[in-house]
Every structure is written in C-alpha cells, then in structure tokens.
Symmetry: D2
Subunit: 144 residues, 4 copies
C-alpha cells in the first residue's frame, strides 16, 4: 500500500470554513488527532442540513457512521483558520462514503485527509434504509 | 439578587465570530451548557494571542481560570452562527475578570452571559504574578 | 463576598467516581476549566438516570441548565482519579440547584466546587413544568 | 476486502476500564463516532504513562498520531461502562501501530475496533526519532 499523500484543492467539490478552538490544541500545542473527526462531522452535517434538508432529531431515516479514518500530514493549531473540502467517494443505495480534505486557509495542499461511511438506518425499526431522496440529490452534486 | 438578564451589544467592546459545531448539540438538540465555556476560552484566548502577544506553551507567566460562571437565557443550536462580545469587568494587578456576551448572528440581545477570572501565575515557581505589560495594555482597551 | 473555599467530604450526600481523560488536559498540562462542567453533567445525569428514572430522549419533561458556575482551588490532571460529591442546594417545585464537590481520590478537601440550576421544561410546549415525581423523590435524598 | 468484524477479548493483551460521559452521547442518544478516538487516547496514554514512564509536557521524544481509524459494530451509550483492550499491531524502530478493542463491560465481543499509529518525533528538532527504551520495553509486553 502506498503511503497516503496530501491532496490539492481541485480534488474536492465543496468547501466550508472551519474555525479552530482553544480546546482543539492538546498538551503538545497542536490540534489533537481526535478533534479532526469533530471537524468532519461539522462540515458534513452542515452540508446535509443546508443542502440535503436533513433535520436532526426529526428525521426517521438517519445516517450512522460505521467506519472512519484519518491520515495526518502536517500539524495545525488554534487559532488557525481552516477550510474543509468535501468529496463523495462512493454513493450506494443505503450508504455513502465521504472524503474530507483539511486545508489551512492559505494552503494549496491538504494537511489531513479524513474518510467516513454513513450507513442509513430507519430509527423506529433499526433496519438498514435507502438514502432519502432529497439527501441523495444533494450527495450527487459532490460526486467526482 | 435580581435575576440575570440578556444584554445588548453596546455593552461589549470587541466581538469575535464563533461557528457552532455538530458536537455542541446534546441529545436535546441544543448547544450543551458545557460548550459555552469552550466558546469563551476560544474568544478570550484569541484576543490574548492576537492583541496581547500571548504565546501559549512559551510564556512564563500565564493566566489560570480560578472561577467561571454562565447564565443561559435562550437556547442556540448547531449550525447557528454566533458572535461573542468581550468586556473587562475588573482589571487588577494580578488578575482580570471577563464578561462574555453570546449573541446569535442576527440578534440584538444576548442569549447567554459568561464570566470568568484569570489569575496570573509564574509557571516555574507556581506563584502569583503581575499581568505582563503587553497583555495589560491589550486588556485596557476592553475596559468600559 | 468572602472568597470561596474548599469543602470537606461530609458536605456531600452521594459520591460518584470520575476518571479523567487525556483530552481533559490542556496545553498547560492541567484539566481545562471547561471539562469540569462535563464532569458535573456526567455525575448529575447518572444520578437522575439511576436513581430518578430519567430517560434522556424519551422524557417529556426535562431539566435545562439555566445557570452554572465553578470555583477552582487546585489543579488536577489526567490520569488522576476523582470523586464527585453531590448535594442539593435548593429544591423548588420547578427547579433544582446542585452543588458538586470535586475531590482527588485520596483527598479530604475538594479541589473545585461547581453549582448549577436545572429548570424543568415540558418539551412539546416549551413551558416551565413541575419536577416529575420520581425525580423529586430522588432529589430529596440529597437534601442536607 | 472483507468486512471488519467484532473481536473477542483474547485478542487483547491488557484492558482498562472506560467510563462513558454524558457528553459522549449525541442527538441520536448513542456515543458519537468522534469520542471513541478520545477513549483510545485515554487508554493508550495511560498505558504509556503508567507502564512506559511517559511524562507528557516533559519528554523530549513524543509520539504523534499520523493515522487513525475505527470500525463501529454496535452502538453504546452513556452511562454504559466499557473496557478497552490494547494490542500492538506492529512495532517499528520509530513508530508503533495500536489496535484497541472496545467492549461493553459484560460483553465477550467488541462493539468497535480502533487503530492508530504513533510516529515518534524529537520535539526540539522536529525530526523522526527512535522509540525511547523504556516505552519500547513496555510496548513489547503488548505484542501478540
């Protein structure tokens, strides 16, 4: 397996700004490995809410994260400003795999790449479910 | 004691934007009471870094929080955009008391008011210390 | 106003263990002021669930935090083990005020004192509500 | 690639208890995907501190996380009690790859599997560094 590499901005279809917080830094003065995943959730759910009509707490069919990963290439620190690029890696009938590129505000190359898979579930029954139509339409705009 | 009340924007000397995150919401769909304090840290330390020359991890004299409090007037939720207003309540020789107003981006009245006190300490000795001159100069710009 | 002081264990009616986490420490190597409030939520809600029958996400009447505060007397750090003591300061018909003492596992005196007030609300209507009977019965066991 | 599967306890060399917190749950009432990584940090760094003599903030050579991942098999929720099993997947001269199994306290099968790689770095120079001898000795006790 080749070693993961930084990506350029043209790999991603849509960007959101992400402001770091004081608590993102750990004792070493860099954003801790954990908080990147909180950033991913923030950008992806914002897309799903604003573009896909997702209503957390009201929707019957929701996406649960079944796998996630991140490769870290270079540290960032509060109070850096970041931009998160979104890309859909794979769009199935009941699941979607995201890739998120983390870019310092003035950088051409990403400092981290995240990936995670949402599997959609019907909350009342707990069963696997088709991606709702409005969310699917939004996801298709992010396909390569 | 009279009941705490929302404040208007003119009470605060300087504002910073604060973007909510997915993880700010708790099971009730509102920003959890805890995360307000993370927001306060983010705005106040940004001020200290950008305006007061604070260098976390390098400075010998640092401000430790010895007391904090918050009154919550109305809920906010991710993905709301907020603005945090800063005000100095009391500036001593070795401590400073902050007040932070939390405003939804389009609101004239605050939805929460936070307060906390930084006591400055010389890290090597652990002893109480004077506020460094550059930080003091910055703090004075926020006095009413 | 007299300066807040550490308290002894006999002030509190019930104790829960609280294990610190790596992310509790900030860049100064101490538990950050924010995470104490996450500890308070953890101990108080555990009491409400285990002793008061609270079912988060199902209950129609829930307690929202309308005010919180903390005095910090001495730092603690991951991987310290803590114990949180609970005490009811005031029990009204529609609200309850908690005091939480934070104790290092082997200490007689608290290293921090937290306080917060839960106001009970009927979620569907958003209106103020009486504390549910089962929760009230549990709260009464913590009164001084 | 075969689909990731739960593992049994005998796969792991050492276990630590992990108490969930109120803030671990997200709006869906389950521990959010992000907090698993905070749990991993907590268990692994506890091992490095208690068994490997790591002194965060003092050590010159430290382990930075360069990659992390998690597969989620079944949800858990606060106030569940968990146990985290540690295993070393690969021990190089300058890096170590961890596997962490997350087990509900009474379960034989894991509900999540995490993995991450620590690359050791000399902080003053920022250069890649050998794993310190005392940490290496501790890591070897976790090898399969």
């Amino acid at each position: 397996m080749s070693r993961p590499q930084p990506a350029s901005r043209d790999r991603y279809a849509k960007f959101y700004p992400l402001a770091t917080r004081w608590a993102d830094n750990d004792i070493y003065g860099h954003a801790n490995n954990v908080v990147y995943y909180a950033w991913f959730d923030t950008a992806v759910n914002r897309f799903l809410i604003e573009c896909g009509g997702m209503q957390p707490g009201l929707d019957q069919v929701v996406g649960y994260v079944v796998a996630s990963s991140c490769d870290y290439f270079a540290p960032v620190s509060y109070p850096d400003s970041l931009e998160l690029g979104l890309r859909i890696e794979r769009l199935g009938s009941k699941s979607v795999s995201w890739e998120i590129g983390v870019f310092p505000a003035d950088a051409e190359e990403s400092c981290a790449t995240g990936r995670f898979t949402h599997a959609f579930v019907d909350r009342p029954s707990g069963r696997s479910a088709e991606i709702p139509a409005k969310i699917r339409a939004a996801l298709q705009t992010l396909l390569p």
